[in-house]
Amino acid sequence: SKSGEAATAEETTSGETTSEEVAETKPLKVIHLVNGVLGDKSFFDSAERGVKKASEEFGFEYKTIEMGTDPAGWESGLADAAANEEYDIMIMGTWQMVGYLEAIAGKYPDKYFMIYDTAVTPDNCSNACSNVYSITYKQNEGSYVAGVYAGLMTKTGIVGVVGAQDIPVINDFIVGYTQGVKSVNPDYQVLLNYAGGWNDPAKGKEQALAMYQQGADYVFQVAGATGDGIFQAAQETGNYAIGVDSDQATIIKDTNPELAAVIATSMMKNVDNSLYRALKLHLEGTLPYGTSEALGIAEGGVGLAKNDIYDSLTPQDVKDKISQAEADVTAGTITVDTAF
């Protein structure tokens, strides 16, 4: 990836970089280790976006490495990056990297690590993970609101959700979503299906079509690139879908407005913002390494995408109820179940 050079080229406004410990000797260099591949239009892409934005705004170099889908190469990918003198901060995501990170953090006490969508357990690190900052997201909270939305909007009383795989992170979405739907009407049905993979939009489409056929009119996609097919199924059958992780309608609105129009909203998991913020705090010298932060609705870590499409589709009373639900969750008057 060449984004690093692009960033250095525009490096003019970096006067305010203040982190005393890091910036004095050499320019900061960040590495983003993707334990998969980019292009999912949601999770990893979002993380990448956040790092890129920070790099452009704060003027540091970064490199992204796609370590591929085979887990056998991940540990050594991390080890390689950590051992490389060049890099100061290593950013990675997902639970699959936790074990490797815990093992390596203590070996490089001078380096910084950030991990998103999961958290390390300090006891497992030789240095209590004092150089690791973890970010988790309360996707169950965001999904709860998405569920409330689907519940309020459905005309049939049946809604759906397609997950990529039967794994806890995905189930956390599903649990929250289901709770949200049922909070509107306990008799509403939530159809659930797993596509079995992250890269099979054709399968996603068939599953969504099956749900629409079974009577659903809103289907929430929690399946990465497979979700593309779900949008297309919605478009074809005149139903609606709910996107995930990023504001998926906005991403494609310009080039594919018809498809964007069926994505009523997206349950955003703001990995980008959270990484942007973490990098910012790092540069300011105030990032709380050694801790983990759980970002929910209150912290802006998750939430519905309230874009033009949402605005035009959603009646005012529904909008009000959504705001109410968000407030309830934030205030803690409603506790959202979790799959963890």
Binding site: G39, Q189, D200
Partner: protein, 325 residues
């Protein structure tokens, strides 16, 4: 969840329509796999060919705003891609399985690389408005209640797949080329001895197979879906290959095997919404295929046993009648 919804789903015209759609994605490459197999080669790179065509079709139609240009380019790309397989295998002596595997890697990496170069996106072409081939509403049938939903309103590839199955059947059994192709596959030495150019025949067959696989790929990205996605073939090339053998290496058998798989897959999509572990539901198409193999095998054995039985009965009857004489 509710079993009623599922049953309603399964016993509906839409279910059968979905079977047709899913099967089409397999029938086209499977026909390609079939003819190469009959010509004595094995085309492992169906998967890669589909991917290349799916990609090319989307990109070309996206940039040219012309669906048919996209389709043509997709076909050309697929045929050229399989020409690579043919050339390396037939002229440079690469083992065909290795060549096929290498080409699959090439296709998977190459499409993403080019996608990135052309659209700045690594995952999908969804930021590019690409073309979609038209669907066809069959005049009279479309108004027949159940049948209309099942048969009408599909994209042209769905109908194309069945037309092609018919044409491939004709090609194989009613044209010179088809006869030569099968002869080469069964006994290349004998074929050579009557002046059939084995290498050329295999070459052309692989190209035709590339053509069929390319339609399979275009079906995915320009009909079934309207975008390209990295590795969007998701193993269909291999399932297609399995359909060839499950179908007894016959055109209609292959089609039936693909449809069987389509039914099983559609079934698993419907059943998935029930509260059954997803891992088990996702096993259904594969388990059904195994069961089909077993049933087919047992039936063949049974046939032999029955023949023996019939013979014995016949003999018994004969000896009885002789005794009466």
């Amino acid at each position: 969840m509710s079993i009623n919804l599922v049953l309603k789903g399964i016993f509906s015209a839409l279910f059968l329509a979905s079977v047709l759609r899913i099967s089409t994605a397999l029938i086209l490459p499977a026909l390609g796999g079939l003819i190469t197999d009959l010509s004595g080669s094995i085309n492992i790179s169906l998967e890669g060919t589909m991917l290349v065509s799916a990609f090319t079709g989307v990109i070309v139609s996206g940039f040219s705003h012309n669906v048919w240009l996209g389709v043509l380019a997709g076909i050309a790309a697929g045929v050229l891609f399989s020409a690579l397989l043919a050339y390396f295998h037939l002229y440079l002596g690469t083992n065909i399985i290795l060549a096929g595997t290498a080409l699959n890697i090439l296709a998977s990496g190459g499409t993403v690389f080019l996608l990135f170069m052309l659209t700045g996106d690594k995952g999908s072409s969804s930021t590019l408005a690409s073309g979609v081939v038209p669907t066809v509403n069959i005049p009279i049938i479309k108004d027949i209640p159940f049948l209309g939903t099942v048969l009408s309103g599909h994209n042209i590839f769905v109908y194309g797949a069945f037309v092609l199955a018919f044409l491939i059947n004709q090609l194989l059994y009613h044209t010179k080329f088809g006869v030569h192709l099968r002869a080469v596959g069964e006994d290349p030495v004998a074929a050579t001895s009557v002046g059939i150019n084995v290498r050329k025949t295999k070459f052309v067959t692989i190209l035709v197979s590339g053509f069929l696989a390319s339609l399979g790929g275009l079906n995915l990205s320009m009909a079934y879906l309207s975008s390209f996605q990295r590795d969007m073939t998701a193993g269909r090339g291999f399932i297609a290959l399995a359909a060839v053998y499950l179908g007894g290496r016959k055109p209609w058998g292959t089609v039936l095997a693909a449809i069987l798989f389509g039914i099983a897959d559609a079934l698993s999509n419907q059943l998935g919404t029930l509260n059954i572990p997803s891992q088990l539901v996702q096993m259904i198409p594969y388990a059904i295929t195994i069961i089909a193999l077993v049933v087919y095998g047992i039936r063949n054995q049974q046939k032999l046993i029955e023949q023996t039985k019939r013979f014995q009965e016949r003999e018994l009857a004969r000896s009885k009648s002789e005794q009466q004489d």
